[in-house]
């Protein structure tokens, strides 16, 4: 027989002046292969049609359904109830603006930070429609894709000590995003340009090194490494003019980057 799951859901509608934040318990019969997507959909379709949460691909690909599951940020769609105790507590991700219940506004947050770090290939070359594509080694393409896999679910931001204290901290996701451009030869930005973007305590120097970001990343992106690489790059850039070039080259050795 399946278990009876007790699912406690955070409820609050910020648009309703009479609403106060509270927890509400729903009891759901568990069945084989049940995920939190299936459980929450069951609740909305059968028990309370007003519960707010976000799902889209329901396959762990789109990053819509980040929430705090028994105290830990994760994607609800690929969390199987069988891996959780009978008593499940769900909260919205912190840091992001609450829309209602479990739904938060990651879209606006990521759009703003994407514009801030200029998350695009900076090139002075025009596109030549009739020319062959520029060559790239497959290994480099794979390395770029490895960092490009971030789905912007916001779990790393929600788990970040710095982000909880400073709402202008760009988070591990954005540092990873820039690291992706840093190794991409199509992007003509130099270390100095990256330093201007993230060389402060809202950027790479804000990280306290708690590294919960990497622990909770559902895509297992090596966030810690990227943070180290970008921080070393920015540190060396900050001492340009004080420390000779050959020494800086030595320090930056083995540190990714194309420069």
């Amino acid at each position: 027989m399946g278990r009876k799951l007790h699912i406690d859901i955070f409820r609050h509608n910020p648009l309703d002046p009479d609403s106060t934040p509270r927890m509400q318990t729903f009891v759901v019969e568990e069945y084989t292969s049940m995920t939190l997507f299936l459980a929450l959909t069951h609740i909305r379709e059968n028990l309370d049609p007003t519960v707010q949460f976000d799902f889209c691909c329901r396959a762990g690909i789109c990053g819509s359904c980040g929430m705090v599951i028994n105290g830990r940020p994760g994607l609800a769609c690929h969390t199987r109830t069988a891996d959780l105790p009978e008593h499940i507590t769900l909260h919205p991700l912190p840091v992001f603006q609450l829309i209602g219940d479990l739904s938060v506004d990651t879209g606006t947050w990521f759009r703003n930070v994407g514009a801030k770090i200029e998350s695009w290939v900076h090139t002075s070359k025009p596109f030549e429609a009739q020319a062959q594509e520029e060559r790239m080694s497959n290994e480099l393409a794979n390395n770029i894709f490895e960092l490009d896999r971030c789905v912007e679910c916001g779990c790393c931001v929600a788990a970040c000590g710095t982000a909880l204290m400073r709402n202008d901290f760009i988070g591990a996701t954005s540092i990873n995003r820039l690291a992706r451009f840093y190794i991409d030869p199509r992007d003509e930005r130099a270390p100095r340009d990256y330093y201007e973007l993230v060389g402060d305590d809202n950027g790479v120097f804000g990280c306290m090194g708690l590294l919960a970001c990497e622990d909770v990343c559902p895509k297992k992106i090596p966030l810690q490494d990227q943070l180290g690489i970008m921080r070393r790059m920015a540190s060396l850039e900050s001492v340009r003019g004080f420390i000779p070039q050959n020494l800086r080259d030595k320090f930056s050795c083995g540190c990714g980057g194309k420069h």
């Binding site: 309370d48 690929h78 759009r111 090139t123 594509e133 520029e134 794979n142 894709f145």
Partner: protein
Amino acid sequence: MRIFQTDLLCIGAGLAGERVAVEAAQAGFEVICLSLVPPRRSHSSAAQGGMQAALGNSIMGQGDCPDIHFNDTVKGSDWGCDQEVARMFADTAPIAMREMAYLGVPWNRVVPGEHTYFKGGNPFQAVEKAENEGLIHSRAFGGTAKWRTCYTSDGTGHSVLFTLDNRLLQLGVTVHDRTQAEILIHDGVSCQGCIARCLRTGELVAYLAKSTLIATGGYGRIYKATTNAVICDGGGQIAALETGLVPMGNMEAVQFHPTGTVPTDILVTEGCRGDGGTLLDVNEYRFMPDYEPEKAELASRDVVSRRMTEHMRKGLGVKSPYGDHLWLDIRHLGEKHITTNLREVYEIATNFLGVNPIQQLIPVRPTQHYSMGGVRTNKDGATYGLKGLYAAGEAACWDMHGFNRLGGNSLSETIVAGRIVGHKIVEFLQGNQVSFSTGAMNDAAAQVRTRINALMHGGREDCTALRNAMQDVMMEHVGIFRNGKDLQMGVDKLQTLLERSKNISLHGGSVKGFTPELSLALRVPGMIKLALCTAYGALMRTESRGAHAREDYPERNDRDWLNRTLALWKEGDSLPTLSYENTTPWFEIPPGERGYGGGKIIVADIPPTMIKTKEGE
């Protein structure tokens, strides 16, 4: 009511919508994109496999060219496509891929030297050429003569979507996410934008636009078992259909993907079979070569899905609490290949099914996957009924897929059509002025308010129950194999549901601000109309072509049915009005055998004036 004004309004911000937006923004026009979700979460991101383009860099793609790509596409469509459009598509695809490389997509590249590849589960060696080192590589997909599918590992949709969205950021395009378009604003002649609902606050917002694009993807959610994301509810098609002026094309052309997983219906990519994965039955016997000796698992999707269903009907499926299924076997590809090139598949199998595909078999069955039909457009992407209204991508029936699309051709279509249609919209904007009518805007807003009020004080029907009933009808009566009796029953049932949908009320009651129940309640009547267009179109098409397989009419009937269904919904009707148009303005390849799938053909007399040789020949 807040009012926004813009040159181009893109309803939908997946790959097609964003590619069109880029084209218009690059030409200096103002663009607003509306999206149900943040654009990077669009269903385009879930496309794992790749994009077909005849670059011919890889050794298995050697000698490829747009002519061969065009040929595969026409055959794949079972001669149901518009050949002028398919030709434009095949010719433009290589440029569109290179453009995405320029913008930052990390396409996988050619690595020179000897490699082990798989075909039909058997390994073989091939040597990639040194002179092609670092050019865009390609993998095998079903129904193609060459290995033509460009890919980034198994996250192609994700990579291309993020790259395009980066470009939108760079161009400063306005994006309004969590916004649901409810109705188009028009004066009977030209489209002037839409009324949308903000999914943060529930308020209605008006968007006035000189040109409007529908790029909302497919309508797979009219089926219960679908690989489509929960947002693929046909919102764009519904908005167009409900004008009563804009016809849908070939709505009965629905693709089932051979490898939806059981029980979650999550897709595992065709890349599995392209890379050498095989299909096994209850006895772990590989059955596809018995049906399709030549192509086996890599025949086109409609054929593989039908053969799988046929095999399960012989009692050779695997029984499970969720119904019969078959197995997908990728074990022989090895741990390294599975955890790198097929990592997304590995994650889906382990996370959602509790299956480790390195040692275990993956349970699969054919699952609704793609809508070949959609808002009918001409080759420029312009809809038939309203000036200034365009459609692109899966939302549109452009129509390069006909009755079956090839894997890798739809993802490719998004950016190729986006490029071409975007260019045509720019021309339209440069040559036209639009006078906005506040009357038309207020009428449209009043209609939405009336609908919402009716739901607040409606009858007793529950929108979720009606949607579920519709999905069950579609699975039972309008599935992979179809016949007149079942289809008629399906149409009857859907008509009853449509009637009942006039009495929906919100069971959660009135909520301040936004409530998800209202979003669904507003959609369900339109979804039932789309379902009726599909079922009724299928009932009237008394032949079998591509994905449309009639048990009572097994022949492909070129004599009577070499045409495209147009479905128009006149106000107050309970059925669409169907009419038919020529499939294609001319044939570069006259109708013939596909070379897989079998089946008889009733031959057509094609007038010589409709046969075209390639330009310049």
